[in-house]
């Protein structure tokens, strides 16, 4: 079972992008893609991170690995301060935290046999003997349900689901403790999606891994995650155990998201239709960033930003409904 040691701790993490326009760049402002996110990932758990496109969920995933250098905040992995690591130590860290991307087409080199793609990580991390590397690649491919003999083939010879398996095998090459999975099944057909989700669960159980599972699909997150964080415009607005969050969402945004997911077997509950789109990230609304679309907006919402607090034990929300 999950023991409560945090594997990864994120405190007040920020990633701002400066936006410029014109031939002679003039500053337009800053996009606060990740704006003060604090999260823990516990050893052996799957943390689901949900939100709509542009909410900053992918940037958060990349910032943890410093693929996008954070603007501020703290990240600590197994007690190590990630942001102060030098290049060499960062490389060691990236062996322990791996990332699986959404689109296996663009994350695999089309001119490299997949076995080499998987083995590349081993070279970078110092497994130099070709024989040893070959054996490990074969083991990894079998682990993700592919024939070891396919190592000589090129990415285009595989289907989307198989390519995503290759992406997973590559992430597993260095025996990571944490895998950041950024929409790993979004590009797959439903009949194949289930295979890949089951595979990820099996690997997690066998190796005692943790996942940060980034997705826009609540149904998928409900299946795979232990805890779920909901993100809106760069901030976490709600965080709770999966059962609790789906049964009793506190934040109006979570409520709307859940009601927007039709569900096959759900009865006809009333649907909350959010008005409008996500505001421009260049000009986030004052106060609570969700107030422009919120169906429970109050006088205080455009004025003051709500704090992210523990409303019931283990269930956090940032909303003025829960003072």
């Amino acid at each position: 079972m999950i023991n409560k040691v945090p594997l990864l701790q994120i405190k007040n993490l920020k990633k701002y992008y400066r936006v410029t326009a014109g031939l002679i760049p003039r500053p337009l402002g800053e996009i606060k893609a990740v704006d003060g996110v604090s999260l823990d990932i516990i050893e052996g758990e799957v943390l689901g991170l949900v939100g709509e496109s542009g909410c900053g969920k992918s940037t958060l995933g990349k910032a943890i690995l410093r693929l996008e250098e954070p603007t501020g905040g703290q990240i600590s992995f197994q007690g190590t301060d990630v942001l102060s690591l030098n290049k060499r130590d960062l490389r060691t860290l990236r062996g322990k935290i791996q990332i699986v991307f959404q689109d296996p087409d663009s994350s695999l080199d089309p001119r490299m046999p997949v076995g080499d793609s998987i083995g590349e990580a081993l070279i970078v991390h110092g497994v130099s003997g070709a024989g040893e590397r070959g054996r490990r690649v074969a083991r990894l491919m079998e682990k993700v349900g592919l024939e070891a003999g396919f190592a000589e083939r090129y990415p285009h010879e595989f289907s989307g689901g198989q390519r995503q398996r290759i992406g997973i095998a590559r992430a597993l090459a260095m025996d990571p403790r944490l895998i950041i999975a950024d929409e790993p099944v979004s590009a797959l057909d439903v009949s194949v999606q289930a295979q890949v989700l089951n595979l990820m669960m099996d690997i997690k159980d066998a190796d005692g891994l943790s996942y940060m599972f980034v997705s826009h699909d609540l149904a998928v997150v409900k299946y795979i995650a232990d805890r779920v964080a909901v993100m809106y415009m760069g901030q976490i607005v709600e965080l709770a155990d999966k059962e609790e969050l789906f049964r009793d969402p506190l934040h109006p945004y979570t409520e709307a998201l859940l009601s927007a997911v039709a569900g096959l077997r759900r009865g006809g509950g009333s649907r909350i239709l959010l008005s409008g789109d996500m505001p421009s990230p260049l000009k986030p609304p004052a106060g609570c960033r969700f107030h422009t679309r919120c169906h429970r907006v109050m006088e205080i919402c455009p004025v003051a930003e709500p704090a992210f607090r523990e409303v019931v034990p283990g269930h956090y929300a940032a909303c003025h409904l829960y003072p």
Binding site: D189, S191, A194, A219, V261, G263, L264, R271
Partner: protein
């Protein structure tokens, strides 16, 4: 209907024997995974594919007494947009970036009608209002890049409706948008169905949307309709092993599953379809006959049709 594409690598049998009918005021969903032929089916109805390489090799598309599959192209052109309109998946690439939304809708309006500029503009504004676009007058002057994804998709639907068609074909209209925007678009389509008594062909890979909007659903696999029935029947009492698998493997927020059932294998390549029943390499209930003979679409109960050897020609369950 069969639509094949003659390519250098072989014949792509994208649509390989699709049968269905569409009734007035009904929403028929074409459901299937990528590459199953659902979009080509829709394109074929209006002959909107490049020919060559594409060709409707057999079959008919009967609309108001005309066979759209075999009549002269000029005749099809009179139907396109006016009688049968289409909304595509990706509004971003379907809209012209250098014209305002208003101009593009007005162009559509006058493609088949004769309106002066003021009347066309008024009609365009009313269409945008029908799509729940706030400040429609303003929106007419916007360029596509000034609009959000949801607004663009709604503007696309407005364009589709500009000639008051009797059939709207919506090809995955919500795939590229977020869930909250998707809910808005689904709401608009439902409104259209009731208010305009319009017939809609809704193409999707997402069964949960079928439940929301569909009256009947046709499940497509390997270029063929493998099952067609009222939506409730498809979802609660699916007859084809593929439909059953598809429903079972979908994660759902109202259930707590420890493990998802899955369908083994991959979707077939339309250039190299399996012999016999195209689903047989992945089917749990596969029999010898499935490997050699293609099953016919038979009636199993009232309006429920299925193409599977588990059912005999009279529609009775064997096995």
């Amino acid at each position: 209907m069969k639509t094949w594409f003659y390519t250098r690598r072989g014949i792509v049998k994208a649509v390989n024997g699709v049968d269905f009918d569409l009734r007035q005021g009904e929403c028929l969903c074409l459901v299937g995974e990528s590459g199953c032929g659902k979009s080509v089916t829709a394109l074929s109805l209006l002959r909107l594919f490049d020919s060559p390489p594409g060709k409707i090799v057999s079959g008919k598309v009967m609309f108001a007494g005309i066979d759209l599959a075999n009549c002269p192209v000029e005749q099809v052109r009179r139907v396109r947009g006016k009688e049968i309109a289409m909304v595509f998946q990706n509004a971003q690439s379907a809209l012209n970036p250098v014209f305002t939304i208003g101009d593009q809708i007005m162009e559509q309006i006058n493609a088949h009608g004769r309106y002066n500029r003021a009347d066309a503009r008024k009609k365009a504004r009313l269409l945008l209002e029908e799509m729940n676009i706030p400040q429609a007058e303003n929106a007419l002057n916007m360029y596509p890049h000034q609009m959000s994804g949801g607004m663009k998709q709604r503007a696309m639907i407005a364009m589709g409706l500009s000639c008051d068609p009797s059939i709207l074909i919506a090809d995955e209209p919500t795939t590229a948008v977020d869930v909250t925007i998707r809910a808005q678009i689904m709401f608009i389509l439902q409104e259209l169905k009731t208010r305009r008594n319009m017939s809609i062909i809704f193409i999707t890979h997402d069964l949960s949307l079928v439940r929301e909007i569909g009256d009947r659903a046709a499940v497509i696999y390997g270029g063929r309709v493998v099952e067609i029935a009222p939506v409730e029947t498809i979802l609660t009492d699916p007859a084809h092993p593929y439909t059953r698998g598809l429903i079972a493997c979908l994660p759902d927020i109202s259930t707590n599953l420890k493990r998802l059932p899955s369908i083994p294998g991959n979707t077939p390549n339309p250039i190299d379809l399996p012999e016999g029943c195209t689903f047989h390499p992945r089917c749990r209930d596969v029999m010898d006959v499935c490997r050699s003979t293609e099953p016919a679409l038979v009636n199993i109960a009232g309006v429920h049709k299925v193409a599977c050897h588990l059912y005999d020609n009279a529609g009775a369950f064997i096995a």
